[in-house]
């Protein structure tokens, strides 16, 4: 899908900017400076306004991330279940990007992680290493 297709898809929608950015990110892996320019012109917003939105939300990237991303929950419930010990025991792996996320709603079975839309719970060091290796 091209950027023009994405913009056409959301024509006439109320408050279309976030849905557009989600689609752009899903399609291209990031929201580029060029995309911001085109979106701004299409929605009759300034580039600064669109840039402000893109940079406000944790989900949007300005540059592509070539590595597989694992989102590891490090909020209180997973802390209580030992996620920090997992983090310090992790073998550094430059081929995988480990991101911190605050809460996946799996708070009774943490430590928990998400890869794409896949969810993983009751992680210990061995399971986490296996998950990272499988990416």
């Amino acid at each position: 899908m091209s950027l023009a297709d994405i913009l056409a898809r959301h024509k006439g929608r109320e408050g279309p900017l976030l849905p557009i950015l989600h689609d752009v990110q899903a399609e291209f892996g990031h929201v580029s400076e060029d995309a911001i320019r085109t979106i701004a012109s299409d929605l009759n917003l300034t580039r600064a306004e669109v840039h402000g939105v893109v940079s406000f939300y944790h989900d949007y990237r300005s540059t592509p991330e070539p590595r597989p991303v694992i989102k590891l929950c490090r909020a209180e419930a997973c802390q209580a279940r030992g996620v920090e010990a997992l983090v310090s025991a992790m073998t550094p792996n430059p081929a995988v990007k480990v991101e911190t996320v605050y809460c996946l709603g799996l708070c009774s079975v943490g430590p928990a992680a998400m890869v794409g839309t896949g969810v993983y719970a009751r992680l210990d060091s061995a399971k986490l290493e296996m998950l990272v290796k499988s990416l």
Partner: protein, 487 residues
């Protein structure tokens, strides 16, 4: 043989899909249902009302052969964790296929909406006021009063916005409603729309909940004809915790930065796109059909004081029996943690419980006699928030937890107001000095002063409530701070 396994994200994260596949491969008829909320037993398998859990694919042959005694918990409905609950909002949990309209109809679905259409908008609002239902997102504002304000506002366009940006650590009840009983939420929104004269509803779901988003998208399509002319649209957040604050959520829906708005004007009068808007949490809206169908008095008969009805309490963190426990207000914190939760999961002594998410206070065992009630928790300098409990054992370092509260606030602050934007960063730095043992007493005094500024000077609950975890840690667990003193 019919085998019932949840397709809730938590069950899947614990391996439910592989277990379901193993049963299918063995020739069983597998039915994917909602979760009972007994999370330590997931993946939980139900055969003729009898439960087995936690099940792995390796156990399947044994279960089918009539064995697996060690995994068997007997009849699920009679299990103490379930039998002790009063499930109104979660009446269908574990019992229905989430997207099956026949299941929903057969279990009393759409009766609340039918009733609302029969008695009309003003009687529906009166019923909600009489029920005493308060906003379950955390603020605890009477839902009926909010609806009445929106109903009374003059505007050709009004909105119902469902806040499904459940970002608090230790909470998952909204997720369970959306994944397990999506139609009840949509029915609640349709009732709200009918009551206040709104034709359009939005559900703003956090992006960390892909399973809930998929279920809600499918549910909205499947039942569109039943709620017409009311129309519901799903919107997805983008990873900002602060968007759980209602005005920030409205800005996000409008396609702006999720910055908090000053109030007034109230969203009830000038909300989404400046139009009168009901903003309610998932649990609030999902409880509305029960209130309409069963009567306001029946709902108000549960609870204590000004906290009427039931609360879906989420027991999480380092706890033996974690999961969803819905019960009337009034149960004590100690009962929840020790009797129902079974104490810590590690087997060590429970040191504290954080109630109400990252902005909630840390409560020591000496406060375990506090009844679960909005006012009672305010009375012990805490809050019940969205009803999440995070249990910690004695290995926890409370000075680090206090620092984390400030760090979290700094990471998630929208930047609109100074006490939150700067206070959280200065707070983190000051607590770093405490952790390093520098002038502990003086720095703690500084923190207490800073917390006072944040509490009274912040625009919203993010900066305003971050002092709860910080100050409660200092007040109840001062030993963890002073022990570092080098002086």
């Amino acid at each position: 043989m019919k085998v019932r396994i949840s397709d809730d994200a938590l069950a899947i994260a614990c391996g439910a899909d592989a277990v379901a596949k193993a049963f299918t491969d063995a020739g069983s008829d597998v039915e994917r249902v909602s979760s009972w909320g007994m999370h330590w037993l997931e993946p939980l398998v139900e055969i003729n009302g009898i439960g087995f859990g936690p099940v792995t694919p390796a156990d399947v042959a044994d279960i089918l052969a009539g064995g697996a005694d060690t995994l068997c918990i007997g009849p699920i409905a009679a299990h103490p964790f379930i039998a002790r609950q009063q499930r109104l909002t979660f009446a269908r949990a574990g019992k229905t296929r989430p997207l099956d309209l026949d299941d929903y109809y057969a279990t009393g679905g759409w009766q609340g909406l039918a009733k609302a259409r029969e008695i009309g908008p003003s009687a529906s609002i009166e019923a909600l006021i009489t029920s005493g239902l308060r906003g379950r997102g955390g603020a605890g504002f009477p839902a009926g009063i909010k609806w009445r304000t929106v109903a009374g506002a003059q505007s050709p366009q009004k909105y119902i916005v469902c806040n499904a940006d459940e970002g608090d650590s230790g909470t998952f009840a909204d997720r369970m409603v959306m994944e397990g009983d999506p139609y009840v939420l949509i029915e609640g929104m349709a009732i709200a729309g009918h009551a206040v004269g709104a034709s359009k509803g939005y559900v703003y779901i956090r992006s960390e909940y892909p399973h809930a988003i998929a279920k809600m998208e499918a549910a909205v399509k499947a039942c569109a004809h039943l709620i017409a002319p009311f129309d519901v649209e799903i919107r997805v957040g983008a990873g900002a915790y602060v968007c759980g604050e209602e005005t920030s959520l409205l800005n996000s829906l409008e396609g702006k930065r999720g910055e908090v708005r000053a109030k007034p004007p109230l969203p009830a009068l000038e909300g989404l796109f400046g139009k009168p808007t009901v903003v309610n949490n998932v649990l609030t809206l999902a409880t509305v059909p029960w209130v309409l169908a069963n009567g306001a008095e029946a709902y108000a008969a549960y609870g204590m004081g000004r906290s009427r009805g039931t609360m879906p309490i989420q027991i999480a963190g380092n706890v033996k029996y974690g999961g969803l426990f819905e019960t009337a207000f009034g149960i004590t914190l100690g009962e929840l943690v020790n009797d129902i939760g079974g104490g810590s999961g590690s087997g060590r002594q429970v040191r504290c419980v954080q109630v109400g998410g990252p902005l909630g206070a840390y409560h020591p065992p000496s406060q375990f006699d506090t009844p679960f009630d909005y006012e009672a928790f305010t009375g012990v300098d805490g809050l019940i928030g969205h009803g999440g409990l995070v249990v910690f054992d004695e290995t926890v370092d409370m000075a680090s937890q206090a620092r984390f509260a400030m760090e979290f606030c700094a990471a998630e602050s929208c930047g609109k107001c100074t006490p939150c934007r700067l206070g959280s960063t200065r707070g983190t730095e000051t607590l770093d000095r405490v952790l390093a043992g520098e002038n502990v007493d003086a720095n703690l005094a500084l923190i207490e002063d800073l917390c006072d500024t944040m509490k009274f000077g912040s625009l919203c609950a993010l900066g305003g409530f971050t002092p709860y975890p910080v100050l409660s840690a200092i007040t109840h667990f001062r030993e963890d701070f002073v022990v570092r003193n080098k002086a």
